[in-house]
Symmetry: C2
Subunit: 424 residues, 2 copies
């Protein structure tokens, strides 16, 4: 253990904790002023941000990063404009802090209020997307939380430039500069130290691929809110409306195949398979989707002249994140529910049916964060749910499940007012 590194990281967390106490009693106006100042500052600092980002891009190219990864970490004028706009949007959202969630008067006269408060100090661990730096800092700040940001080494120069702007904006609004801090090293040892500071940091949110999330979950003694990716299902029931089934299946699969709420798996009731599968298969194939089929679906699609491939067992639990879908024919609604509860990642699963009883049974029985009836899985999203912003889509069951917005970045505390009550 490097003692200097341990001291650096611990001191940073101590400062974050102190800042979080000041933030918890800061006003909405102060936090919004910091955010609006940051948006303006990003606009005014375009040249400096592009220059810092160019150093990261050059290093990434020199290190042979594949072009799509280099693209992901690259800023340009348009992306910077989008970034400052997203900060202004966060500033415009209602403040979640201070809302009274419940109140009651006890028989002994005690008056209880359950009030939404910030969580405290949140550690955000992310990879190589510099917009995450600003998005996460803005959401944490808006919700009154101090944040500790630890990004990937590929965007370290960009992050330093962004963190400097954020700290100027905090100072301009009279808020502690330590309310948002960047871990000053991308050393993995620093991350391991950070993940064990459970007396100072209250929540860890890893934003990135499954490997990162798993590493964090296994090494953290701080509670982690995980945003794993999705193996999402669409089940087309016997009583589905044909055109609606086609529209939803195609949208869920192809509208943006690389995201967590895109469909990866198609189940079709055997009573609808002959009628519907050819239409669904042809539509998907026309959009360039590869169909990995079980025997029953492959046979029906083959007779209909739609090109398919036989699925391997692993395909039925795979998140393809691509124009690929696995297809199965199922004997009943209850089989569909059981398969989804076994093979899905409990993220976003849909039924298409005109049969309300079937839909009710599906929605009660499918144990997933979001269950859709006659709508695309792609709607499992903080913006679509009306949260205004999201820090991710939680695949956990504790604290937050599904889209995680400003309210989910909060905890609560109990305020109890008495007139001298004591326990007998």
């Amino acid at each position: 253990m490097n003692e200097d590194l341990k001291k650096t990281v611990t001191d940073l967390a101590v400062r974050a904790r102190a800042a979080s106490l000041a933030l918890a009693v800061s006003s909405t106006a102060e936090r919004n002023a910091a955010l609006l100042d940051l948006a303006d500052r990003i606009d005014r600092s375009e040249a400096a941000l592009l220059a810092a980002n160019a150093r990261d891009v050059q290093a990434a190219q020199a290190n042979g990063l594949p072009p799509y990864q280099v693209d992901r970490l690259t800023f340009n004028e348009e992306r910077l404009a989008h970034l400052s706009e997203s900060v202004r949007q966060v500033a415009s959202l209602p403040d979640p802090v201070g809302e009274v969630l419940e109140e009651s008067r006890r028989p002994n006269g005690l008056y209880l209020r359950k009030v939404r408060v910030p969580i405290g100090v949140i550690g955000v661990i992310f990879e190589a997307r510099p917009n995450v730096t600003v998005d996460c800092a803005a959401l944490c700040l808006k919700s009154g939380n101090a944040s500790i940001l630890r990004g990937g080494k590929e965007i370290f120069e960009t992050n330093k430039a962004l963190a400097a702007l954020i700290s100027e904006s905090l100072a301009s609004a009279g808020l502690p500069a330590d309310a948002v801090q960047l871990v000053p090293t991308t050393d993995r040892a620093a991350l391991e130290i950070l993940l064990r500071l459970d007396s100072l940091i209250h929540c860890i949110i890893p934003r990135g691929g499954e490997g990162l999330i798993r590493f964090v979950a296994e090494n953290s003694t701080i509670p982690v809110i995980k945003h794993y990716t999705g193996v999402c299902f669409v089940y087309v029931d016997q009583a589905a409306d044909d055109a609606m089934a086609e529209a939803i299946v195609v949208n869920a699969k192809v509208q943006r195949p690389g995201v967590c709420n895109a469909a990866e798996q198609l189940l079709v009731h055997q009573g609808a398979a002959d009628r519907l599968l050819p239409r669904l298969g042809a539509s998907l194939a026309a959009k360039g989707v590869r169909l990995l089929c079980d025997e029953a679906s492959g046979s029906i699609l083959g007779r209909a002249g739609v090109k398919t491939e036989p699925a391997k067992p692993a395909d039925f639990t795979t998140e393809f994140l691509d124009l690929v879908i696995a297809v199965r024919v199922v004997p009943s609604l209850d089989d569909a529910i059981a398969i989804i509860n076994r093979d899905s990642s409990a993220h976003s699963d849909a039924i298409v049916t005109t049969d309300k009883a079937a839909a009710d049974r599906f929605m009660a029985g499918v144990d997933s964060a979001a269950v859709f009836w006659n709508a695309s899985t792609r709607f499992n999203d903080g913006f679509e749910f009306g949260f205004g912003a999201e820090i991710g889509i939680s695949t956990d069951r504790l604290h937050a499940r599904g889209p995680m917005g400003l309210r989910e970045l909060c905890s609560y505390k109990w305020l109890v007012t008495g007139t001298g009550q004591v326990r007998g």
Copy 2:
């Protein structure tokens, strides 16, 4: 790694997961029937339970356990009657499952409902109190969760007898017997295996001392809800009512000193110290409380003829769980808030004052699970808060903070009803 043990524990969790899916769609009546049957069965099985418990008691005595620990694990007729009564009370509570927490209609016509559902599979890790076995099983069952119970070796015979009764009650109500399972070994290796089954178990609740909780938190890849003990403060403000201050300080310290919401620390505003400290000190001393004092409070109490001892620095952050209190004089309300945020365990902290502005500032500024104004810290309790029952008092900030009742044993899911909506 013992592969047989790994298989035993994993199979148990697989069965728990299957049972949890059945429980999630079970009716309130079915779950209540199982609970009422269990209460009756405990009453009818008194002789068998006492016999099983006697084997644990004999072993504990043979192993030289101190008498207070032997007492803790001992059943008698009265304790068994209390146990069955507590199960009947859980049955009588409202079912938390299925409540619609929010609903909204989106501009695109999607209808969203956020519905309370069980968490899924909960692992409860506890030590040597056999009432915990039944209490936790009952609370998990009522809230639709499958539970895996892992108790200490000191009560293994008692736990086996209780688990057999629970499984008969589940069967009698037509619920899966695997809905409540006892880990069939108290081998620590089995616990370590269990704590890493994060794809099957959704939540771990350790019930026991700090050492157990810390071991679980450090070894679990499953989210843990921690119930650490409390370093609770009472702050007596300059504007306190004298008699009320005396009543609250004495109650918070002496009514039940061994529990987590008992006060361990007293702060007195310097403007009230000369007036109030002698009265508070004399009252506490009369109840047999040792007063560990800072210089200022020791000097005032000494002049008033109250016996004190000088406090060591560590006393100001200690949970005594005994008739001992540490006492300090503080220069201001803001100092009291800062001291509490630094030295308390953020569990239950109180202000005594007639000054509403001071109380508001204290309640906003103190970052604890429950903050009391003119009431004893002893009220931080699920029963006192009207929850009907509690599985513990969470010292975490995610998911549940403060008393954890049936609702806090639930998660939620999003049910989205459409008419064919797709994303553009």
